[in-house]
């Protein structure tokens, strides 16, 4: 608890610096990552993050020490080569995209390991710091590093914000962008540059292997909450910043823990929670709305049954008979009946059930839609009358009043459906 207060009150300026750095870095990579996620290029980020390893090692060799400028430059160049190669290979060979990405990723990483091993065998004492690039260590970042990385993140954020319109075009409709005169090639080149930059500065904190998560996961998680681009970007940035701070906190409390894996675990947690509980597209809410829909269709069918009985001259039906209409669904049927009673569509009289005034017009509407659709299928689509029932059984729950009006007009207000049954309307109903 003391640690918690000490950490989150930011008494220690170095903690403040690290948290600031992580925030900038998280926002930058979440921004870039969301665009690449929308562009369906999520795994390119993974390839780039593995591919910067040889560049880091070469930068280290050139400088002879852990100089952030050399390392960032080296990493940037090798990330750039990997990006260029992946698009070149895609255009010039018959290999599929995932094979190309996996090839580039592993070959660059393997070459990086060769360089790293040679460096380790050279006995340079500074080499220990280089290992932190593989798994990341945000706490170990010095203030000078932080200025560079934070500054670069700021550049990414500013460029992305200023050119939001252009990147939006690139992601959603590059053809249109080209047609109205935007230099799409330059824009996508600029985007690649930003993506490599984001990877290069991210690996310091997250590590080469896990950098992909920082690019992919925030966007994927945020996508469940909104369909609009701006809230999407903001939400992704929030997820990323929160997990960044939490991860840094864990590796502050438990110093032997690397930061990267914890950031990734928190990010994935946010993502999994979003997948489950997000409104509309989350798994739980999709499950609930499916259940709701099934209940509604069952209620509709029940009312249809009552209406048909009425057509045959029976004003009410005994409950037992209704159960027999829907075999093996007794519990569901009981539930539907009590729901319909609460909604005021049916009334219960001892052991029999009849439609109320409101229930009658609602049941009539459903039957009308059913029969109208059957007639439409039969007349306009030339489907045989004995084949139209199943489709109508599904669409009767979906057809909107507008669609109903269109159907009526198109079919010229028919009186009978293909099975020679009356299409019920308020004026000529059975009463």
């Amino acid at each position: 608890m003391e640690d918690f207060v000490y950490f989150f009150t930011f008494q220690d300026p170095s903690i403040l610096w690290v948290v600031l750095g992580i925030m900038l870095l998280g926002i930058g990579s979440a921004y870039v990552g969301t665009f690449s996620f929308l562009d369906k290029k999520a795994l390119l980020g993974d390839a780039i993050s593995h591919a910067v390893l040889p560049g880091i090692c070469l930068g280290f060799m050139m400088a002879g020490e852990k100089n952030p400028v050399y390392i960032v430059t080296g990493a940037f160049i090798s990330g750039g080569i990997a990006t260029f190669l992946s698009s070149w290979l895609k255009q010039n060979t018959k290999l599929s995209e995932d094979t190309i990405i996996a090839t580039i990723l592993s070959v660059f990483f393997g070459f990086g390991i060769v360089l790293l091993t040679s460096l380790q065998k050279s006995g340079n004492p500074e080499i220990a710091g280089l290992n932190s690039f593989i798994f990341g260590n945000a706490i170990g970042i010095s203030e000078a590093d932080l200025m560079l990385y934070g500054g670069l993140s700021l550049v990414i954020i500013v460029v992305l914000t200023l050119l939001l319109k252009e990147f939006r075009l690139m992601v959603f409709d590059p053809q249109y962008g080209k047609a109205i005169g935007f230099p799409m090639k330059t824009i996508s080149f600029l985007f690649n540059v930003l993506m490599i930059l984001a990877v290069v500065i991210g690996i310091q904190a997250i590590g080469v292997v896990l950098m992909a998560a920082l690019l992919i996961t925030p966007g994927a998680a945020a996508r469940f909450w909104t369909d609009r681009l701006n809230p999407l970007l903001i939400l992704a940035a929030i997820f990323s910043v929160l997990s960044g701070i939490l991860g840094t906190y864990v590796s502050f409390v438990l110093p032997q823990m690397p930061t990267g894996p914890w950031v990734v675990v928190f990010l994935s947690l946010f993502a999994l929670i979003s997948f489950l509980i997000a409104p509309k597209s989350g798994i739980v809410s999709r499950f609930i709305s499916r259940k709701k829909y099934l209940r509604k269709t069952h209620r509709d069918h029940l009312m249809k049954g009552l209406y048909k009985a009425k057509e045959e001259g029976k004003e009410s039906l005994p409950i037992e008979e209704i159960y027999e209409l829907y075999p093996y669904q007794k519990a569901q049927t009981t539930k539907s009946i009590s729901e319909l009673i609460t909604m005021g569509f049916i009334a219960r009289n001892q052991q029999t059930i009849e439609l109320t005034e409101r229930g009658n017009s609602e049941a009539m509407r459903i039957v009308r839609l059913h029969r109208l659709w059957e007639l439409y299928l039969n007349e306009s689509m030339n489907i045989a009358p004995d084949h139209v029932h199943d489709s109508a059984e599904q669409l009767e729950h979906l057809i909107t009043p507008e669609l109903e009006a269109l159907l009526e007009k198109r079919l010229n207000y028919p009186a009978l459906d293909p099975h020679q049954e009356t299409i019920p309307r308020e004026k000529n109903d059975l009463r």
Partner: protein, 298 residues
């Protein structure tokens, strides 16, 4: 440059691993699942750590079972994210493997004092120490390097798997719908392939490291695919490439004194690069003037 029994053992083991991975990789590539292979090789890490923790030894059955289970779990999780949560495929791969790998690293650090498992060794292994690590029976009989035996066993399983399920694998790789019509359980075949990929990853991670297994899974098949289109030559060429990669990789690593596994991958990348240069679409000035004119475009 020398050729002694150590060199032979390393090259032999390297070739066995490269061929096993290559064979599986061919089918992964044909199914456009190369990145899934990559994901599995990262995702087995927690299984390895837990198995190690439970059994207390790196060479136990528990490790292999743990990793196998995690490999299957990763496949199922990717599938679940894609179908149930409706995340696009590339993102579900990315989320799955980063999460599982992160958990693995955290477990290593949590159990660091109980588990003698180095995160770097998991990542890139060291095949060079292979001759020292012998398999000695209780009666003191030295049967040769343990990892070579493991690799041999793995090679046996992989080739047996492919030999027995060749028809099923081929069919499901090229035409999943048709294979379903034929009555082949394509999902079962898929899961079996994923399990054997995770098993291969585990039995190779000690020597070449979890990440470089990916290279052996992907690069030789991709290189071979540039040269041929039919399946049998593809498999043969992949095997040939596997052997040449380990020979060249060993000697180059010996020469500059670096990681053998890393060098094997670098050589694989070099061979891939050469094949790409030979087989890519040539720029017009290389084709000369006699090239066929393109018909008028629309």
């Amino acid at each position: 440059m020398t050729f002694d029994s150590n060199a032979f053992l390393i090259i032999f083991t390297g070739s066995l691993i490269a061929i096993s991975c290559g064979f599986l990789g061919v089918f992964m590539m044909l199914r456009k699942m190369s990145m899934t292979g990559d994901a599995i090789s990262h995702a087995v890490l927690p299984g390895i750590v837990i198995g190690y923790f439970v059994s207390g030894s790196q060479r136990s059955l528990e490790v292999i079972i743990g990793a196998g289970l995690l490999g299957i779990l990763a496949t199922l999780m990717i599938d679940w994210l894609r179908k149930k949560a409706r995340v696009q495929l590339d993102a579900s791969i990315g989320i799955t493997f980063t999460l599982l790998f992160a958990i693995g690293i955290i477990l290593i650090n949590l159990l660091a004092y109980k588990v003698d498992l180095d995160q770097e060794c998991v990542l890139y292994g060291e095949i060079a120490y292979l001759p020292i690590d012998s398999w000695i029976t209780k009666s003191g009989l030295n049967l040769g390097p343990r990892i070579t035996w493991l690799a041999g066993l793995n090679f046996f399983f992989v080739s047996g798997f492919i030999y027995l399920l060749f028809k099923e694998l081929t069919l499901t790789s090229f035409d999943e719908n048709f294979s379903s019509v034929m009555g082949i359980p394509s999902k079962g075949v898929n899961l079996a392939l994923m399990s054997i990929v995770s098993y291969t990853t585990v039995s190779s991670f000690e020597s070449v490291g979890a990440i470089l297994v990916v290279a052996l899974l992907v690069v030789p098949p991709a290189t071979a695919f540039l040269w041929t289109k039919s399946l049998m030559p593809l498999l043969k060429l992949t095997a040939g490439l596997g052997i040449s990669i380990s020979v060249l990789g060993y000697y180059l690593a010996y020469w500059i004194d670096s990681s053998i596994a890393g060098m094997m991958v670098t050589v694989a990348g070099g061979l891939f690069g050469i094949s790409v240069l030979i087989h890519s679409k040539k720029p017009s000035w290389l084709r000369g003037t006699s090239s066929v004119k393109e018909p008028f475009g629309v």
